[in-house]
Amino acid sequence: MKPTLARQLDTQARRLMPAATTLALVLLAAMPSHLPGLARIMPLLALIGVYHWTAHRPDLMPARVVFAIGLFQDIVGGGPLGLYAAVFLLVHGGIVSQARFFVGKGFIVLWFGFALMSAAAATAAWVVTALFNAALVDSRALFYQYLLTLGMFPVLSRLFLRWHPSLVAGS
């Protein structure tokens, strides 16, 4: 039986959700917090979205979507265009190539994987920025940002996991 139009639209909307939520995270991270010092070390929320959805539903977070999200992060953040596009793609590629390690593993393993991946991402971003500006950037803020991002991972990841059943129902 051919699904009705409403049903098709519903399915499409569900399939778009991983990308849409990750794009929303980019905007959320740019919100002025008015807390002294927080803006400098604001966690890289979009990376959590990219990692989570690539690990759980790689079909809904393909490389071109990751590229678009990274580009959006660059545009909103004001950094060199392409920096986070490349960094997010590296994380995406890392998970896809190590799928055997990630698929079907418990939360702690995924968190550990995220710790490694985001450390690599932060290092890559730092190196590229240093090359791009031909200047060494202070790495302390980056370190605290890394820690905060790591701390935010369980919160967001748990939130996303709640949506998984509805995603499965849609596809």
């Binding site: 740019a30 002025p32 803006a39 604001m42 920096l83």
Partner: protein, 309 residues
């Protein structure tokens, strides 16, 4: 219906290969964009402001609850301290009254001296007040997005201030949003002077909360506690805008604490002082025709060839 086995046997590796090519292509595109951005900043800025313009209403809506919560907290704190604050304010009013009379006296004196000297006043400054709608100051870039753009009269290079002092300048302008490059950003360079000694220097951001004074004109005639103001050289910032206070003088550099608390920025004033200074990205002034410039370059290259041999 089942797909013939021969097709799946070839299709699977082919698909993998295609995926890998697409992935590498996207990575190459990301690096290509970075290179392009390095070469042609103007093109990238233009593309960027359009996207930011499109999401500006969203950012604006998102920034409001945060501002409301902040206001509520600040109000609560103020009520708790109201008595104590009243006493200190009374004392301050007393002190300021004396300053006011001194200022009035100096103002009238200044006025009369100006008429004596036929002093040409600088052009009147116009300003737009704008809300900060996104604080994108991450670890690599210190910038913010403000909710006013070209249609409100904001132009690239305008000075951004608060009541406390200089915050930065406008780096890119969209239709109804623009990007504010904070003075702590790695790419911010502001001609400044030490107010007490009139020592010239450049205030250079380095992505930390305290920018440094570099190129001090007479080797470190500066001490902690000195006020730093803009010098007006280069014609982007008018002279005398307060920037910050020197916090430490060491071998590694002179650090300045800006007066403006960047995390608390909510409303900023975008000021047009009518200055047409040298800005990055603006075309260099053409002084001589290209043919003559080429000839001059050839002349200059000659001695180099001589030493090369």
């Amino acid at each position: 219906m089942e797909t013939p086995r021969i097709i799946t046997r070839f299709a699977q590796p082919m698909r993998g290969l295609l995926h890998r090519f697409a992935y590498l292509g996207l990575i190459a595109a990301a690096f290509g964009l970075m290179m392009l951005g390095k070469v042609d900043t103007l093109l990238m800025d233009r593309a960027r402001v359009h996207v930011v313009d499109a999401v500006a209403p969203l950012l604006d809506a998102l920034s409001r609850p945060a501002a409301a919560i902040e206001n509520a907290i600040v109000k609560g704190r103020e009520i708790a301290r109201i008595h104590e604050e009243n006493a200190t304010l009374r004392a301050e009013v007393e002190k300021l009254r004396q300053w006011e009379s001194a200022a009035r006296h100096l103002e009238s004196e200044n006025e009369s001296l100006k008429t004596l000297l036929k002093w040409a006043p600088p052009p009147e400054a116009a300003f737009v007040t704008a809300r900060v709608i996104a604080d994108t100051g991450g670890t690599f870039v210190h910038s913010m997005i403000v909710g006013a753009g070209a249609q409100d009269g904001v132009k690239k290079g305008l000075v951004v201030m608060t009541g406390d002092g200089l915050a930065g300048r406008i780096a890119a302008v969209g239709n109804h949003s623009s990007r504010l490059l904070l003075l702590t950003d790695l790419n911010s360079r502001i001609p400044a002077i030490v107010e007490r000694t009139r020592t010239r220097a450049i205030l250079a951001g380095d992505n930390t909360d305290r920018p440094r004074l570099i190129h001090l004109s007479d080797g470190g005639a500066v001490t902690a506690g000195d006020r730093i103001v803009t010098s007006g050289h280069g014609g982007v910032f008018p002279p005398g805008l307060p920037i910050g206070i020197v916090t430490s003088v060491a071998e590694s550099g002179v650090l300045v604490q800006p007066f403006v608390e960047q995390a608390r920025l909510e409303f900023v004033r975008v000021v047009d002082f009518g200055l047409e200074g040298i800005l990055e990205g603006s075309p260099p002034p053409r002084i001589e025709p290209a043919s003559r410039r080429r000839a001059a370059r050839k002349e200059a290259a000659k001695p180099d060839e001589g030493t090369g041999r």
